[in-house]
């Protein structure tokens, strides 16, 4: 609360500024540098202008990957947000159940991303995986290595398993901050369960939901590790998202110029989408 006006504050945020500089700003500038030049290694650079950008924006491969990304993010949000709210609403508000639920909820969040990928890769295998084998025994034809739909279902279920907890925890934090008097008043007013949700819980959760939507959108839009570990982008290109494509292009094919241009387009898309989300979701705050 207490604000003081001296320059000491800068000293304290300096480490963060330096970190951001080294981890974000400098690499970003390097990428910008690469995106407008052509190189064959050996530190030889040739000016390429906007050539790489034109190439990327005209390539079907890019647009197909972008479409997959958007579809993936839409599905993820449509599943994780309602599911997260639903679980948060049904979590206990007091008693011994609270810490138990919170720990259970945090577990998936504590697992490293590549481990999550590996878990599901093994879990879904038809020959040795618990899930794959069970489904096979039940007579369901499931094979994420062969069938694009199965691959998508696997990646989505995996993401929902991994990240819904985050939405749950955020919503839960919003819910427990609602004073009891609101619930009492709603009871007295004869409000239905749905009205309580619509007029008390949802408005109070709005801010945390905004954060949840933003985080889940950005994360899902940038998804890389898990599908890479599980499907490697396949079968075919069916789960090749922008990030996977980018890595293929940069590291696999060593096309640094186009990859850099793609990175920047990718970055701008995320920035734009986040800004749109933020503006739309905060605009209703200003009408009062």
């Amino acid at each position: 609360m207490e604000k003081t006006y001296n320059n000491k504050a800068w000293f304290f945020v300096l480490p963060v500024l330096l970190l951001v500089l080294f981890s974000a700003a400098i690499p970003l500038m390097t990428v910008v540098n690469y995106s407008v030049q052509d190189t064959f290694g050996n530190n030889e650079f040739f000016w390429a202008g906007t050539g790489w950008f034109t190439e990327i924006l005209n390539s079907d491969r890019f647009w197909a990957a972008l479409q997959r990304n958007l579809l993936f993010s839409v599905i993820i949000l449509a599943l994780e947000i309602p599911l997260g709210i639903f679980i948060a609403l049904n979590m206990p508000k007091k008693g011994l159940g609270v810490p138990v639920c919170l720990v259970l909820m945090s577990l998936p969040l504590l697992i490293p991303w590549n481990v999550v990928g590996t878990i599901w890769q093994v879990f879904g295998r038809v020959d040795i995986g618990l899930l794959g084998r069970t489904l096979a025994i039940l007579g369901i034809d499931y094979n994420y290595v062969r069938d694009p739909l199965d691959a998508w279902v696997t990646v989505i279920v995996m993401d929902v398993w991994h990240w819904t907890s985050l939405v749950v925890l955020l919503c839960y934090a919003g819910l427990v901050s609602i004073p009891d008097a609101y619930y009492q008043a709603a009871k007295i007013d004869g409000a239905s369960r749905w009205s309580v949700f619509r007029f008390i819980q949802l408005p109070k959760m709005k801010r945390v939901l905004l954060i949840a939507v933003l985080l889940r959108f950005m994360d899902s839009f940038m998804i890389y590790t898990e599908p890479f570990v599980v499907t490697g982008g396949g079968p075919g290109n069916s789960t090749t998202f922008l990030s996977i494509d980018l890595v293929k292009m940069a590291v696999g094919q060593f096309d640094l110029g186009p990859a850099a241009a793609m990175s920047i387009v990718y970055f701008l898309i995320i920035l734009l989408m986040s800004w749109i989300f933020y503006t739309v979701m905060t605009s209703s705050d200003k009408d009062a």
């Binding site: 004073p179 008043a185 007295i188 009205s195 008390i200 408005p203 009408d287 009062a288």
Partner: protein, 356 residues
């Protein structure tokens, strides 16, 4: 509207209460009239909120029953009790308009929309918010929000009782006046049974027909504002009501008179006491006359608080507060006399008589 019967109610928050001190509410056995305005007054932790929650159905008493118009509602949920409540902090539905806030309890009860409109419009007039009907409730001031909370209770014209839990806490002093008298007017107009919880004596006394003074989980006195002021049945009531509170001086009884230090005052009716009782004399600062006649006092300080002055003095070695109005002259060698009608005698803190 309903008559509220509190039948031998006791409540403890912990399990297995044994001693009296385990009870947040020790024993409440009373009947409150239909259409009465009651205030529960007492310091924090006196059990007044516990009692309110028992009436609203939020708490189940450990012992005893609660009846509305003779029907046992002890086991009935808050929804089923058909009551309204105004909370300490305004509870409004932020995303709705003022109109929709008021219509909400009616729509939930499937009242026909034409009837809803009529009752909401009426209510908007009563709580002076007609011009704000279409505004979002979020941007309003605290007192307007509190009026909405009240209005949401009042639109249901069949409620058994309206409960208030320190409703003026977040309201500025000027608006308190307006809201308080509006509330009083509404009570006179509609005759709802109202129960008002507060620690503020002015709110309690001005609002209620009957004030219920609570102290350490017990009701120490139920009475009209005048009774509480003139004949506090416990020294706590004397202290808690009135500003400053009653002067309580150690005393001895001597046949038909009471003795404080070297001063003796005659009593008409000697109070009934047992030997060994701790006797005290209670006199409100308003009933002490300051002048050139009477018993000697030593004035230590005079506080001018605008419309009156509080004179702090020493009387027979004990502190004594005296209230004098702004026009009264205070002589240098002041003496005091106690208005015989204002003298109360206490034995072990309970009133045993007075009025010389």
């Amino acid at each position: 509207m309903a008559r509220i019967t509190l039948d031998h109610i006791r409540h403890a928050y912990g399990a297995n209460p044994v001693a009296d001190s385990d009870y947040a509410l020790r024993e409440v056995h009373h009947e409150w009239n239909d259409g009465g305005a009651y205030a529960l007054l007492g310091p924090s932790g006196c059990g007044k909120t516990t009692l309110l929650n028992i009436i609203s159905g939020l708490l189940q008493p450990s012992h005893g029953r609660i009846l509305f118009d003779g029907n046992d509602v002890t086991e009935v949920s808050t929804q089923g009790r058909n009551i309204a409540q105004v909370f300490q902090f305004p509870v409004i539905y932020d995303t709705m308009t003022v109109y929709d806030n008021l219509a909400f309890p009616l729509r939930n009860r499937k009242v026909p929309e034409a009837e809803v409109d009529k009752r909401v419009r009426d209510m908007l007039g009563i709580i002076d918010l007609a011009d704000w009907a279409d505004r979002k409730a979020r941007g309003l001031t605290a007192d307007q929000k509190q009026k909405i909370s009240l209005g949401r209770g009042l639109v249901r014209n069949d409620v058994n009782a309206i409960l208030f839990d320190e409703p003026l806490t977040v309201i500025d002093p000027h608006m308190k006046w307006v809201l308080r008298s509006q509330l009083k007017r509404i009570h006179k107009q509609f005759g709802f049974t109202m129960v008002y919880v507060t620690h503020d004596q002015t709110e309690a006394l001005t609002f209620a027909d009957k004030v219920v003074v609570m102290y350490e989980g017990e009701i120490v006195q139920i009475g009209t504002p005048a009774e509480l002021f003139e004949k506090p049945s416990h020294t706590f009531v004397g202290y808690f009501i009135g500003s400053p509170g009653m002067n309580v001086l150690p005393a001895q009884l001597n046949e038909r008179s009471v003795v404080v230090g070297s001063q003796r005052m005659d009593l008409n009716v000697p109070p009934q006491t047992k030997p060994g009782d701790r006797i005290e004399l209670g006199i409100r600062p308003e009933f002490i006359h300051l002048g050139r006649e009477g018993m000697p006092v030593k004035i230590s300080r005079i506080e001018d608080i605008g419309r009156r002055r509080i004179v702090r003095a020493e009387f027979e070695g004990k502190p004594l507060a005296i209230v004098a109005d702004e026009n009264t002259e205070i002589p240098a060698e002041a003496r005091v006399s106690f208005d015989p009608a204002g003298i109360n005698i206490y034995a072990n803190s309970w009133r045993v008589g007075g009025e010389a």
